[in-house]
Amino acid sequence: MSAPLVEIRHLAKSYVRGGQIVPVLADITLDINAGDFTALMGPSGSGKTTLLNLIAGIDKPDSGVLRVGGVDIAALGEAELADWRAANVGFVFQFYNLMPVLTAYENVELPLMLTGLSRTERRQRVELVLAAVGLADRMDHYPNELSGGQQQRVAIARAVVADPRIIVADEPTGDLDRHAAAEVLGMLRRLNEDLGKTIIMVTHDANAARAAKAMVHLEKGELLPA
């Protein structure tokens, strides 16, 4: 049996708030295999977003082991971690986090600017993914000219355009109406089923979690038994 894509052992994380140490995650042990679509669920303050941030390499654990694709990302320096993220992680945020001064095309192109791809290659890729999310005719539109659902589709296109190993999505439907949320979840599911992308999604919405193949529940910083 092959090693899991994400390997977490006894992971702990705490923050300092108002001079006090507040534990957020304690003794988390978890494996996520390549090709999984995992929903991290739990009430507010349960530590699910913190766990997602640690897996995505935008935060560092206090202790424990965190290996992604065999790389101990907790041991990487800032610059190495930035390179690692650029190559391995696609991000989908609750509020899309698109650059308002860039068009849909330019937003999707952002991750590719860090690669050695030529302009033509970048164009081909961007057009392909924008067509895949149904926005081929909106590539010259700015974010404020798009609906929330369309903006999130642009964000999904940006997340997949560099072909990362993992897509992390933090409440991707949290700011959308039911119809747009269903569209986005369907799109994430297709990415997982058709392209084999590993997706880790944080949500507190049980309906959204049903789109995932597996669910992991957290409460007060600890994993609940399956």
């Binding site: 941030n53 935008i58 930035a82 991000f91 945020f93 986090n97 650059m99 991750p111 600017m113």
Partner: protein, 383 residues
């Protein structure tokens, strides 16, 4: 290319804010340039002075004259090539507001001032005419004087109305030379005084002394003053530049105040620009965090902010610099109090340096903050 595009788009994201900042910068750079030009104008006389000319005057004060016979003794000092008599006339042309300097000088005046260019025919016409005068180009243009015009000047130091005939118009060798003045024959003044006020005749305001070598200035000055030590009219000899700076020193507090104001203007716009950049960077914290999450490094973010600051300051500075020369010309026409009011190349460079300094100083803090922003905290920030 991508970075430049992002810099440009960010700079003009809030058009009104950017345009107001640009306008403020342009005005500040323009004001700085004009104030520096005012200071330069103050020193124009000293700047135009020659190192091979000395001024010998009465040691007591400028208002106390020297005997005419000093001339021949000064001429005898080793290193002296020429001696020119000069008296401040201080007359009024038509009405007091039409002030311009008039000097009674000896006929060899233009030999000592090669930077004043006068056609030979006009010079000889002046020498031949006892009542003749020569006016500078700046003065002629200001009042429309032409060769042959008769100028009635009402004396203040020397009473009566004096009539002079314009026999020539001199030009400056370059635009820094002061041509808003008039000279006429010292002999005409002296002969008139012999008839009307004999006790005031044969008195010279100051001697302009030409020397053979700039390195001999100190020795010649000491030699001249030594001639008249313990006499009734002791002399004070100094370089023409030191003499001119003595006038500037009388108003050095004003000059210092103007200098301070010019730097305060830049400090104010620095505060405005720093505030603009800080506001912009704070509003975009989540965007910087997103870029970092995507793999962009701290240096990219720092360059993004510094680039935006540089772009705004370059545009504002360029507008301010471009407006300086025409504004200075308009100012000169409107307020004609400086004989030379010219924007120097150094002033233009100083303006550019100020704009660049403002750009960099205003960007330091927001660029550092953006580079250090923690992704997790930045993503939580509300823009």
């Amino acid at each position: 290319m991508f970075l430049l595009k992002l810099v440009y788009k960010n700079a003009f994201r809030h058009r009104l804010r950017t345009l107001l900042t640009l306008a403020g910068l342009a005005i500040a750079v323009l004001a700085f340039g004009l104030l520096r030009t005012v200071v330069d104008a103050w020193y124009a006389g000293a700047a135009a002075a020659s190192g091979t000319r000395l001024i010998t005057r009465n040691a007591i004060s400028l208002a106390t004259f020297l005997p005419l016979h000093y001339e021949s003794r000064i001429r005898g000092v080793e290193g002296v090539t020429r001696v020119v008599r000069s008296n401040w006339f201080g007359g009024i042309y038509q009405e007091p507001k039409n002030f311009f300097p008039q000097f009674a000088v000896s006929d060899n005046y233009f030999e000592l001032y090669p930077e004043f260019i006068l056609p030979a025919a006009e010079l000889s016409a002046w020498v031949r005419d006892r009542k003749g005068c020569i006016v500078g180009r700046g003065l002629a243009e200001q009042y429309g004087f032409k060769v042959g015009d008769v100028l009635p000047i009402r004396g203040t130091i020397y009473p009566g109305t004096w009539e002079f005939v314009v026999r020539g118009i001199f030009d400056g060798a370059d635009s820094t030379k002061i041509t808003r003045q008039m000279v006429f024959h010292w002999d005409y003044l002296n002969e008139t005084l012999r008839k009307t006020a004999p006790r005031r005749a044969d008195a010279v305001g100051l001697f302009i002394v030409g020397i053979d070598n700039i390195d001999n200035a100190a020795a010649v000055a000491t030699g001249i003053d030594a001639l008249f030590t313990n006499s009734l009219a002791e002399t004070l000899t100094e370089t023409e530049q030191a003499f001119q700076l003595g006038f500037v020193a009388m108003s050095d507090q004003i000059v210092a105040a103007i200098r301070i104001v010019s730097y305060v203007v830049i400090l104010i716009i620095l505060a405005v620009m720093a505030n603009t950049m800080a506001m912009s960077a704070r509003e975009r914290t989540s965007e910087y965090a997103t870029l970092k999450a995507l793999g962009y490094g701290p240096l990219f973010l720092a360059v993004l902010i510094v680039g935006e600051s540089l772009l705004i300051c370059a545009l504002g500075g360029a507008i301010g610099i471009a407006a300086t020369v025409p504004t200075a010309l308009a100012f000169k026409k409107m307020v004609n109090i400086f004989p030379v009011f010219m924007v120097s190349a150094q002033t233009l460079w100083a303006q550019a340096a100020c704009a660049a300094t403002v750009a960099l100083a205003a960007a330091v803090v927001p660029a550092t903050r953006a580079a250090r922003v923690r992704i997790v905290e930045g993503l939580r920030a509300i823009g």
